[in-house]
């Protein structure tokens, strides 16, 4: 984790557990070696705790190199407490857990089946009706309890020691009670002989045993856990896919030598070589060579981006055509990709406010259920007839413990948030947390920043109109040649426009920028004037015929410029910040969702209205100064609106922060992610609608899950306690209770997984 030390420099800290040290001298030796390493600020090795604590400059070295250093000194490093490794080991743990659970389930199922047959036959199968049948059940059930069910008992014990209780507690107490009672009833039947059965010759077999409850419950719950482990593994797919984008190795040049190293060993400042078709390992700046790079995994833009010396490149993007060298600037967890991974991971752990109630309930759930179970036992013991009171009290006690499912409550929110935010990341929508999700689905007003959000944010050449018999191609060539020398942003738009049309640009001479009016220059022996109406009037050039046309262009939000060649009016060109493709559809979709769409801009009313008309927005806030944008949002909120603000993240930061949900668009930079609640990596405005739709779908899933989890417990527990018995004679067998319990958590996870098919 990055920190700032006293000098304000960024430094990172790592704790390495070291093995193989035999005395304090070993510790000193490692400490000295580490302190000599470049980039290490301070290293201390503690012999007693067997740990090395190292503070280092992440731009000069990294954990991998430090571990190597310790190993080179002759000692070993056990484990690394860096979070990057967490995903891999968690996945391995999930896979191992699945295999173990499956094996335990198979053992439990195979052994439970005969026990179940014996119990259900109630003596009707004659060869199963022998004296030692209880002992046979004991032999079959014991391995199920001791081997398959072990995890429930150890888990319950560990929780108990911490004065907490979880699902394990319920299962352990439930099955443990059934098992221990049955063992006692088998070994000492006389303890439980009821008055009515006392005279029977088969007193021992008359005492009921509940081995089948213990073993079948364990089998069924293991089946549920196995299914759940598999489904839960799938909820983390999105992160896995993101991490999988990063190549495993990188080719770097060190000391003039080209060598292949693992990607996490690349340090900032390394020169990295990338060949055509390879993935770029880390973020950096191109130093030599040129290529086109497919950045679609980060930007969603499918057209490869041209890169040459000085261009920024990002890890996990794919180099298409040429080979190039670049200097690594951001490595390890600082790369754009890792930032995204971190953001998604943090979001997946967050919870929307709607889940607070569920959290409060699940926090007290288990002890409350245990209390209800005890009460159930007492009530049945007192209320039932003496012959059956103990067994009925016992069976219902076990049923209550087993049917209660804190898991479904606990899984309801996190699984939906995990799948929802993961799906978002796949679609280029980065959602910061649960509360952003919950607020986003309730928005009723969306404010769109104009420049860069609705429009491309970069002026473009839109119109070329000729007069007095001039050729369009020729006119544009002269204008672009002159504008090539200008530094004005509109000039760059004209030059780009000419190049796009395949026009060769000449060298211009005698270039002169006339402040507030335009430019003049000499191109290919001809004199060119380009500028506003004032420039033309002052130069005595007649433009009358075109001024109405220019007026219309201005109404469309464009900036017209007049051109004169050799003192004669030649026509006009217009430049405008054009609307992004998809903006119009996006506005329509947002309006269809019932949101009021407002456009906000610093531009004049005329330009703003023109753009708003084009995309179908009726409410426009124009001439809003950057510092007043947040105030405008506040004003809307004061009217009771829940406002989502869409902007490009940097200059709109105050407005994004003021809004209920700030949506940064078209960027993956840290600043934008920091300032916003939702970040759309792609520049397409349609992402806003998709983000809102996704938040609605996710919150809907959370609500469904919570509803079912609540209802399940609210109905299940009283039924298991036997509340229906006085009216209908219904009692819930503990085995049915365990099946219902397993099903409830599996169904919650499955419901969350449905979000994976969200298309937006």
């Amino acid at each position: 984790m990055a920190e700032h030390n006293a000098q304000g420099e960024v430094c990172e800290r790592v704790d390495l557990p070291i093995t193989g040290m035999t005395c304090a001298a070993c510790a000193n030796r490692i400490e000295r070696t580490l302190n000599r390493q470049p980039g290490v600020r301070k290293a201390s090795v503690n012999f007693a705790t067997e740990r090395a604590t190292i503070e280092f400059d992440p731009s000069a070295t990294n954990t991998g190199t430090l571990i190597e250093t310790v190993r080179d000194t002759g000692y070993d490093v056990l484990e690394v407490s860096v979070n990057e490794n967490a995903q891999d080991s968690l996945e391995a743990a999930h896979a191992a857990e699945y295999v173990t659970l499956k094996r335990k389930f198979i053992v439990a199922a195979v052994l439970s089946l005969p026990v179940l047959v014996i119990a259900m036959s109630h003596g009707s199968i004659s060869f199963l009706n022998f004296d030692g049948v209880n002992w046979l059940q004991f032999l079959l059930t014991t391995p199920v309890v001791v081997y398959s069910g072990r995890q429930f008992y150890t888990g319950a014990w560990a929780a108990f020691r911490h004065r907490s209780a979880d699902m394990n507690t319920l299962i352990a107490v439930g099955t443990g009670t059934a098992y221990i009672y049955s063992v006692l009833a088998t070994a000492f039947p006389s303890l439980f002989v009821t008055e009515s059965g006392a005279h029977s010759a088969h007193a021992a077999t008359m005492v009921p045993v509940y081995y089948e409850a213990a073993s079948a419950i364990i089998a069924l719950i293991l089946l549920g856990s196995t299914l759940e482990a598999r489904a839960k593994g799938r909820t983390g797919d999105a992160i896995r896919k993101l991490i999988g984008l990063q190549p495993k190795t990188a080719r770097v040049v060190r000391n003039g030598e080209e060598l292949e190293v693992e990607t996490d060993r690349v340090i900032a400042g390394d020169v990295v070589i990338v060949r055509p078709g390879e993935k770029i390992p880390v973020d950096g700046v191109v130093t030599e060579g040129a290529s086109a790079v497919d950045e679609s995994m980060l930007t969603g833009e499918s057209i490869p981006v041209e890169k040459s010396a000085g261009s920024e490149v990002f890890g996990a993007t794919i180099n298409k055509t040429g080979a190039f060298h670049f200097r690594a600037t951001k490595v390890g967890k600082d790369t754009a990709l890792q930032q995204i991974v971190k953001l998604v991971r943090d979001a997946q752990g967050s919870k929307p406010p709607i889940a607070r109630l569920a959290d409060t309930i699940s926090g007290i759930f288990t002890p409350v259920v245990i209390s209800i179970a005890i009460a159930t036992f007492v009530i049945w013991f007192v209320a039932a007839s003496p012959e059956v009171r103990f067994t009925m009290a016992l069976v219902n006690f076990v049923s209550v413990l087993i049917i209660a499912c804190p898991c479904a409550l606990g899984l309801a929110t996190p699984t939906a948030i995990m799948v929802g935010t993961g799906k978002g990341a796949e679609l280029g929508i980065l959602i910061k947390g649960g509360d952003s999700l919950e607020t986003a689905h309730k928005l009723n007003t969306i404010v769109l920043d104009k420049t860069g959000t609705v429009t491309k944010g970069e002026p473009e050449l839109t119109d070329v109109v000729t007069e007095n018999g001039f050729n369009e191609h020729e006119l544009l060539r002269l204008i672009a040649s002159a504008e090539k020398l200008s530094e004005h942003p509109l000039a760059a738009a004209i030059v780009r426009g000419a190049e796009k049309r395949g026009i060769d640009i000449n060298k211009a001479e005698a270039f002169n920028a006339i402040a507030g009016r335009g430019v003049e220059a000499r191109v290919a022996g001809r004199h060119l004037l380009l500028g506003n109406e004032r420039l033309m009037t002052e130069s005595g050039i007649e433009i009358e015929t075109s001024s109405a046309y220019a007026e219309r262009l201005a109404d469309e939000g464009k900036t017209p410029m007049y051109a004169a060649i050799d003192g004669k009016f030649a026509g006009l060109v217009a430049v405008a910040d054009t609307v992004k493709p998809g903006s119009k559809e996006a506005v329509a979709e947002l309006q269809r969702l019932g949101l009021e769409v407002v456009m906000m801009t610093g531009d004049n009313e005329r330009t703003a209205d023109a753009v708003a008309r084009e995309v179908g927005i009726t409410r426009v806030l124009s001439q809003v100064l950057p510092q007043d944008k947040a105030g405008e949002i506040k004003r809307l909120q004061a009217k009771g609106k829940l406002v989502g603000m869409v902007g490009d993240g940097i200059n709109d930061a105050p407005a994004l922060a003021q809004s209920d949900v700030g949506i940064a668009i078209g960027t993956g930079t840290d600043v934008a992610i920091e300032a916003s609640d939702i970040t759309l990596i792609r520049g397409d405005l349609r992402g806003v609608e998709r983000a809102i739709a996704l938040s609605k779908a996710t919150i809907r899933t959370v609500k469904q899950n919570l509803f079912w989890a609540f209802i399940y417990n609210v109905i299940g527990i009283p039924v298991a306690a036997g509340i229906l018995y006085p009216f209908t004679g219904w009692l819930l067998s503990p085995i049915i209770a365990s099946a219902a319990m397993s099903l409830s958590s599996v169904s919650v996870v499955s419901n969350s997984l449905r979000l994976r098919s969200f298309r937006g």
Binding site: S81, N83, G155, R345, G363, L411
Partner: protein, 124 residues
């Protein structure tokens, strides 16, 4: 009402009271140790719960919580400090450090991803 019934009722009531006291009673608070470099640090073992589970720290001083997950049970594979917006995966048998600087006082619960295991940070 026979003797057995009276005994069962009495034991039942006692059991419920014990359960409630055991699970909801007051816990012991452990203060994080302030190290030489000014960081308040504490090791927390994660095994069916957090030990210690109530941790006192001071406002405005960097905190480092070293979570050592001493089990593979999937219940504890994530730790969440919801109020601080922190969620971390905890690999089994490894130490995961969580660092932050508390900027306000109050009680901040930390839980596992499913809100089954509970701990609390008391910032003063």
């Amino acid at each position: 009402m026979d003797t057995n019934e009276i005994i069962v009722i009495a034991v039942g009531i006692l059991a419920v009271v014990t359960v409630i006291w055991w699970f909801f009673g007051e816990r012991e608070t452990v203060a994080a140790e302030v190290r030489k470099d000014g960081v308040q640090e504490i090791d927390i073992t994660v095994k069916g719960g957090y030990s210690p589970d109530v941790i006192a720290v001071k406002k405005g001083v960097p905190v480092r919580l070293n979570f050592f997950r001493d089990e593979t049970s999937s219940c504890s594979e994530q730790v969440v400090i919801g109020d601080l917006g922190i969620a971390r995966d905890l690999p089994a048998y490894k130490t995961t450090a969580i660092e932050f600087t508390p900027d306000r006082t109050g009680e901040f619960p930390f839980t596992c991803g499913m809100n089954m295991l509970h701990g609390k940070l008391k910032v003063t």
